[in-house]
């Protein structure tokens, strides 16, 4: 029997607000242990949380970017559990009235992964195990998080990967988080179950906690899918449990039941007042949002006639798409700009983080200038390519490398003269062409190009030569 994978994600994303969610401490990653702390975020007796409004704004932007509905009234709740990294023995979160309801993430296959809700909450500190002792660092305690809870709409590992990538992409676009999985600013809990293909009923799910890379998500899901299918095939039953993924062995294993069997005793946090979200504020934030990657991609394909494959590459990172948007201003063929970016420029930004930053010596305006020269016929493609290399090496503009004479082009008479010279100087090639060797014409054109130092129009030269040879 074939089994279908069913999965839903709970994704934690650290917001990049300057200060923590309930106090004025910095949210900076790292730092000497317990130096980014104050009485409020270490939960000293008598302290009270005060909600950072910027956190609400960031979360609303996240909600708008994934088409969620922004609640008019939201409330904060306490999630009670005892763990040394949680200084108050409760995490301030949202259960009964989250800030964002619904929404979806659209995948490239057209499927929409629906979202149940997005809520805001505080991060916990960290335990550090060293020399047989356990230490606690509260620097991360109180860093704002959003938790994006999806419906169980994911049907394959590829969809799961794309879902995470899309979230990462869109959250980076709107500038609310760097979504660095390796630094823990984006973490996923993966719910997964299987069911016979065609079945409507969900199977029993397991939850793999705290996944910190897309590669591991894929591996863990693969393992867990196989494990569940094997279990069912051999007459067993999947039990609902919380699992951890072991990177070294590539397997999942149950967490100790103590870590799992939580009754969080949620209730409204009496220290915090109701969050009222005026509609004008939502509209103001909506207006602040940049064009989102999916919309950009569609526009590139439909309006700029960029091939979809290329449009996806251009829109993967916000900086690249902005670079592109800037560089195409007033040019005839955006495709040419796209080719330069995806070709020569991508070769100089090989890693993902290079692409993310997209810091090049050449500015979009400089690229724009080069492409305009090409557009106007003043220079030819070969010259443009070699010039761009020099520009990228030096940071200088195109005109630093292209002389007046380079740009003159070649007029009708000069072209005729060049073609004649090429024919006279290469009788062998002429002979070959006459004998039906079509390719021989290329060496004649090459000769023209060489003697014109790349300025001649190769197409025109070819036509002229054919005319002369008859």
């Amino acid at each position: 029997m074939k089994y279908e994978l069913v999965s839903g994600f709970e994704t934690h994303i650290e917001l990049s607000t300057r200060t923590k969610i309930f106090c004025n401490c910095t949210t900076q990653f790292g730092g000497e242990p317990n130096t980014h702390c104050c009485p409020v975020c270490i939960g000293l007796p008598g302290t009270l949380p005060v909600l950072n409004r910027e956190v609400v704004r960031y979360a609303i932007k996240a909600g708008l970017a994934v088409h969620g509905e922004i609640a008019e009234i939201a409330k904060m709740d306490r999630k009670n559990y005892c763990y040394p990294d949680l200084s108050k023995a409760y995490q301030i979160s949202q259960l009964y009235a989250p800030l964002i309801i619904g929404g979806y993430v659209e995948l490239s296959n057209g499927r929409r992964i629906r979202l149940h809700h997005i809520h805001i909450e505080e991060d916990a500190g960290k335990l550090i195990h060293q020399h047989g002792d356990t230490y606690v660092d509260y620097n991360r305690g109180g860093v704002p998080l959003i938790e994006i809870v999806s419906e169980p709409d994911i049907r394959s590992i590829d969809e799961a990967k794309e879902y995470v990538e899309r979230l990462q992409q869109v959250m980076r676009y709107i500038g609310i988080s760097d979504c660095k999985m390796q630094e823990g600013s984006m973490r996923c809990d993966v719910n997964i179950s299987v069911r016979p293909e065609g079945s409507e009923k969900f199977g029993t799910r397991t939850e793999i906690k705290n996944m910190n890379s897309i590669a591991n998500i894929a591996k863990a899901m693969e393992y867990e899918y196989d494990r569940q299918v094997d279990l069912i095939e051999s007459g067993g039953k999947v039990i609902q449990e919380t699992l951890r993924y072991d990177d070294a062995t590539g397997t999942t294993s149950p967490m100790r039941s103590k870590e799992d069997a939580h009754d969080y005793r949620y209730f409204r946090d009496p220290d915090l007042v109701t969050i009222n979200v005026p509609r004008e504020e939502v509209e103001r934030l909506r207006a602040e949002l940049p064009e989102l990657p999916m919309d950009k991609c569609r526009r590139y394909v439909n309006e700029l006639e960029i091939p979809e494959k290329d449009a996806l590459l251009l829109t993967k990172y916000r900086r690249i798409s902005e670079y592109f948007d800037e560089a195409i201003k007033g040019v005839k063929s955006p495709k040419t700009v796209s080719n330069f970016i995806i070709g020569q420029m991508f070769r100089r930004t090989e890693t993902e983080s290079d692409k993310e930053l997209f810091e090049l010596a050449t500015s979009p305006a400089q690229l724009n200038e080069l492409v305009r020269l090409l557009d106007s016929g003043k220079i030819r493609n070969n010259l443009a390519k070699s010039t761009l290399e020099k520009m990228l090496d030096s940071g200088k503009g195109a005109l630093e490398f292209i002389s007046e004479s380079d740009m003159g082009g070649v007029d009708e008479n000069a072209l005729l003269e060049l073609c004649r010279k090429a024919i006279e100087g290469n009788p062998k090639a002429v002979e070959d062409y006459k004998n039906g060797k079509e390719k021989a014409i290329k060496s004649l054109v090459g000769n023209v190009m060489k003697n014109s130092r790349g300025k001649a129009d190769a197409m025109a030269a070819e036509a002229k030569i054919k005319e002369l040879i008859g």
Binding site: P39, I42, G43, L44, P45, G46, T47, L48, P49, V50, L51, R78, N80, C82, P84, S87, K88, A89, Y90, T134, V136, D263, R265, Y266, F267, P270, D271, L272, V273
Partner: protein, 485 residues
């Protein structure tokens, strides 16, 4: 004249220096405290330093404010920077806050002279002060009786004249009840009028800081000083109703004073009679007495104990021995350390309420208890709103009886819970209430009445209380203890 004004005059006139005054308070504390057990931590050095600062100002001919140089005390659940703050619990022994509670910050900035921290029921959970890790505070009227709770230490100190005034906290009656027991004045302000920042939480949606004083005038002065918005407490709006002092002596002719019959049910005869006698005083002052029913009151007690315990179970989760306070000596791993620390560090009453609160929030019980209690809380708020359509203030007994004898409360916790019946509705509805002495029982123990106001209606209840105090000064007694001004 109130105690605060009197001290102010003495200081300004040069009748005595602030250092001399403070010294005499410290001397009297030394004499009285072994019997009253009002103070759990006396801070003579800090007190003398503050007093000298005031004397320096006076010597320089500078003007001083009403509260400057007035010796006072804070309940031990109010955070004081560098001064041990224990909530009278073993689990917080040795804990010295690194910041001041907002109320203390305000008073300190006005050169208040703090004599020390006063006794209370552990984490403010109790009605007799006897759940204190340091033993109960005794009643200055008769030390065979308790001072009441939870702010028993403040009431005992103020009644015993070893503090001119003090700040307590009131979650279900913890200011008003001990004030009533000790024959002093206690104001529980409207929820949200005084910042809770630095008040070690018992039940966050009910807790409120307020003054315990010898006179209504004093309560008004202190309340006006401490009620201010605070950006560190988002539930705090400050003194929305405006200053109370200017209107203290306003005529109350035509004021409608309501009496809910339910408040008089089940209270002892002497208490009922004293309250009804006070109503007569009001009539004589030209006020109109209105009787009405408030049947919802019968739910107040269970609603209170469910909500308060639920919040407490969460608020007290942080005492795990890791960061501050008491930590068990021997343990095997983190989990064991936390369990042992809490088992050894908390007293019986605190454990009882944590267990109760944990239970009512648990999966499967939340709807039946906590949610239902929250719904009823809304109903109680509305019932009070309707009551205030018929009257301006509500007159009620503060406690159904007078101060218990030593050990009585501890022996029967359920009966003790019942004694909160008259005080908890005010906390549930977030309203202001002031307890004022209104008589004595046959053994000479004080009886208190409370005046309950509309939300942010402190000015009105203090006005009514002040007029009563003027009309019935004999109900305001003194004790044999402490400083004679």
């Amino acid at each position: 004249m109130g105690t605060i004004s009197k001290i102010h005059e003495m200081l300004v006139s040069g009748e005595c220096s602030c250092a001399e005054l403070t010294k005499s308070y410290l001397d009297e504390i030394e004499k009285a405290n072994p019997e009253l057990n009002a103070y759990v931590n006396v801070t003579p050095d800090e007190a003398m330093r503050a007093a000298q600062a005031v004397d320096k100002k006076l010597a320089a001919g500078e003007e001083i404010g009403m509260l400057e140089g007035v010796p006072m005390t804070l309940k031990d659940n109010l955070s004081t920077k560098g001064i041990e703050t224990t909530c009278c619990s073993k689990i917080l022994t040795g804990y010295k806050p690194i910041f001041d509670a907002t109320v203390w910050e305000i008073l300190k900035s006005r050169n208040a002279v703090m004599l020390g921290k006063t006794n209370m029921d552990e984490f403010a959970m109790g009605s007799s002060c006897e759940t204190s890790y340091f033993g109960g505070a005794m009643n200055p009227v008769n030390t065979n009786h308790v001072a009441g709770g939870s702010s028993g230490g403040v009431s005992s100190a103020v009644g015993g004249n070893i503090a001119a005034y003090g700040l307590g906290s009131d979650t279900g009656g913890s200011i008003r009840q001990p004030a009533s027991f000790c024959g002093v004045v206690g104001l529980k302000p409207t929820y949200g009028s005084v910042s809770r920042y630095g008040l070690i939480a018992y039940a966050s949606s009910l807790d409120q800081i307020g003054p315990i004083t010898k006179s209504v005038e004093d309560a008004s002065i202190v309340f006006d000083a401490i009620s201010a918005p605070d950006r560190r407490d988002s539930t705090c709006k400050g003194n929305v109703g405006g200053a109370t002092y200017p209107t203290l002596d306003n005529d109350i002719k035509g004021m409608k004073i309501g009496i809910a019959r339910e408040y008089l049910d089940g209270v002892r005869d002497d208490v009922r009679e004293a309250v009804l006698e006070a109503a007569k005083v009001y009539e004589a002052l030209g006020a109109e007495i209105v009787y009405f029913d408030l049947p919802i009151l019968k739910f107040a007690l269970p609603v209170y104990y469910i909500i308060a315990c639920a919040e407490a179970s969460s608020n007290l989760g942080r005492y795990d021995g890791i960061r501050y306070g008491y930590k068990t000596a021997h343990y095997n791993g983190t989990h064991d350390m936390i369990c042992r620390t809490r088992s050894e560090g908390f007293g019986e009453e605190v454990k009882r309420r944590i267990l109760l609160g944990t239970y009512v929030l648990s999966a499967g019980y939340y709807d039946a208890y906590y949610k239902k209690a929250q719904n009823l809380r809304g109903t109680i708020v509305k019932a009070f709103d309707r009551a205030f359509e018929q009257c301006d203030v509500i007159l009620a007994p503060t406690v159904p009886m007078t101060a218990f004898e030593k050990g009585h409360a501890v022996s029967d916790p359920i009966e003790t819970y019942l004694t909160d019946i008259c005080t908890v509705p005010v906390n549930i509805a977030g309203l202001p209430g002031v307890s004022v002495p209104c008589g004595f029982n046959s053994k000479g123990m004080p009886i208190g009445m409370q005046l309950i106001g509309k939300s942010f209606g402190e000015a009105q209840i203090l006005n009514a209380a002040y007029k009563y105090q003027q009309a019935a000064p004999d109900k305001f007694m003194d004790t044999k203890w402490g400083v004679r001004l």
